[in-house]
């Protein structure tokens, strides 16, 4: 009797063909994106999305064409942070036109697809028991659609804001046609550094180039004397040495960053010449040195 491997094809469904066709569409779509970079963290609450939003804006201020894909399917916030909340994604002949934020930044996020602000990300499912079994699969397929069906056009940088958790990057990496680099965001605390180390190790295992670590909330400026002060007890520890990675930059804690995120205005646009602005612009200068998209007439 024949075994599974003796039979070629799958009887007519051509599942592998469907998967290959999707992969080909994604490769084609991403061909006009010069750099696809993921922004990751170990723990939640380190300000990864705020860093993504401001790095995107800083790159755009340097004249780069930037797109942001919010890969945090269950906790989307990029539309709010980049001021495109309420914009509708439009269906065109070639796919879905992303929302357009300040400086022409293109944004795709699950919160642009939800009917209401407070709507949770829930899926119609006739089989409610044990949704954890299929929920991961549907989220992965949704992310693939974001990559494949969005009309990104020519981009110098597509920043992919990952959900928190060191296991997220390996999961997403297998969906991507390519990943040109990773940026890790942490804060100067031992616990945060412990978890971001795992994300960095995952990037190394996947042979993804780690562009460096952004240390967020890296001290604060005293309101009275203007001198930098530590915000965390472990601060002063050489973060780069602990993480065995180069530090791209250190962003001082500035309450206006969070306020700007809430208001949908990138901090780097609203508060120029501040210390945090300089830190973001310096990181953008390092990241912006990567290759630029071809054929865009610049």
């Amino acid at each position: 009797m024949k075994t599974y491997r003796d039979i070629t094809g799958d009887g007519g469904s051509d599942i592998s063909g469907q998967v290959a066709s999707r992969a080909a569409r994604m490769r084609e779509r991403m061909a006009s994106v010069a750099n696809c970079l993921v922004v990751m963290s170990g723990k939640g609450g380190v300000g990864k999305s705020a860093v993504t939003a401001n790095l995107a804006a800083a790159l755009a201020m340097r004249g780069r064409k930037v797109g942001v894909l919010d890969a945090d399917i269950n906790g989307p916030c990029m539309a709010r942070m980049l001021g495109v909340e309420g914009q509708a994604l439009k269906l065109g002949a070639g796919g879905v036109t992303p929302a357009v934020g300040p400086l022409g930044m293109k944004v795709v996020s699950m919160d642009l697809l939800l009917a209401r602000d407070a709507a949770p990300v829930e899926w119609d499912a006739p089989a409610p028991p044990q949704p954890q079994v299929w929920r991961g699969a549907i989220e992965a397929a949704a992310l693939q659609e974001f990559f494949t069906d969005t009309v990104w056009g020519t981009l110098d940088f597509l920043l992919v804001d990952l959900p928190p958790g060191p296991e997220r990057f390996p999961g997403l990496h297998s969906l991507l046609p390519r990943c040109d680099g990773a940026i890790a965001v942490t804060i100067p605390s031992a616990v945060a550094q412990l978890t971001v180390k795992r994300s960095i190790a995952a990037a190394h295992r996947l042979n993804v180039k780690l562009l460096g670590v952004v240390e967020n909330m890296s001290g604060y400026l005293c309101q009275r004397c203007g001198a930098p002060q530590p915000l965390f007890r472990d601060e002063g520890d050489a973060g780069g040495q602990v993480l065995a990675a180069s530090i791209l930059g250190r962003i001082p804690f500035d309450p206006r960053i969070a306020r700007c995120c809430d208001q949908g205005v990138p901090f780097v646009l609203a508060h120029r010449q501040t210390q945090a602005w300089r830190a973001f612009m310096d990181i953008a200068a390092q990241v912006g040195g990567l290759r630029v998209a071809q054929g865009d007439g610049r």
């Binding site: 009887g11 469904s13 269906l91 879905v96 009917a115 006739p126 089989a127 299929w134 397929a141 659609e145």
Partner: protein
């Protein structure tokens, strides 16, 4: 998953899927190309959901992939998407009544189970209002 006709030692071929897109339990019919014996695959709701979550169609695709197809079909509380043409037509409506028109068109579309707002949907609304 593959099916083998044990009598003929022949791989069975997909014939049809019943209610492939809807319903909570998927079924598909396979046939032996040699002896024409037919069998049905009956998936439970859990298996059905897992296959649907992968974004692939058992039995092969009968329609081309639509943008954000899976997200728009499966997201429980999703916003209706508008085509560029429909948005252009909406933009011609005076700004002060535009939100009201958008709500009305979306209500019309949702009541009829449409997944997107197209120029044709806007025509329907126009005719239904006697315009």
């Amino acid at each position: 998953m593959k099916f083998l006709c044990v009598t003929c030692d022949e791989a069975m071929k997909f014939v049809e899927a019943a209610d492939a897109a809807r319903g909570d339990a998927f079924s598909a019919v396979f046939r032996c190309p040699r002896c024409a014996h037919r069998i049905a695959l009956l998936a439970n709701p859990w298996e059905t959901q897992l296959v649907r979550s992968l974004g692939v169609a058992v039995g092969g695709r009968t329609t081309p992939h639509a943008p954000f197809e899976l997200v728009r079909e499966r997201l429980a509380d999703s916003r209706l998407m508008w085509t560029e043409e429909a948005e252009r037509r909406l933009a011609r409506v005076p700004e002060f009544v535009r939100p009201m028109v958008r709500d009305g068109v979306e209500r019309h579309a949702r009541e009829r189970g449409y997944r997107e707002v197209t120029g044709e949907v806007m025509d329907e609304v126009r005719y239904s209002m006697g315009m």
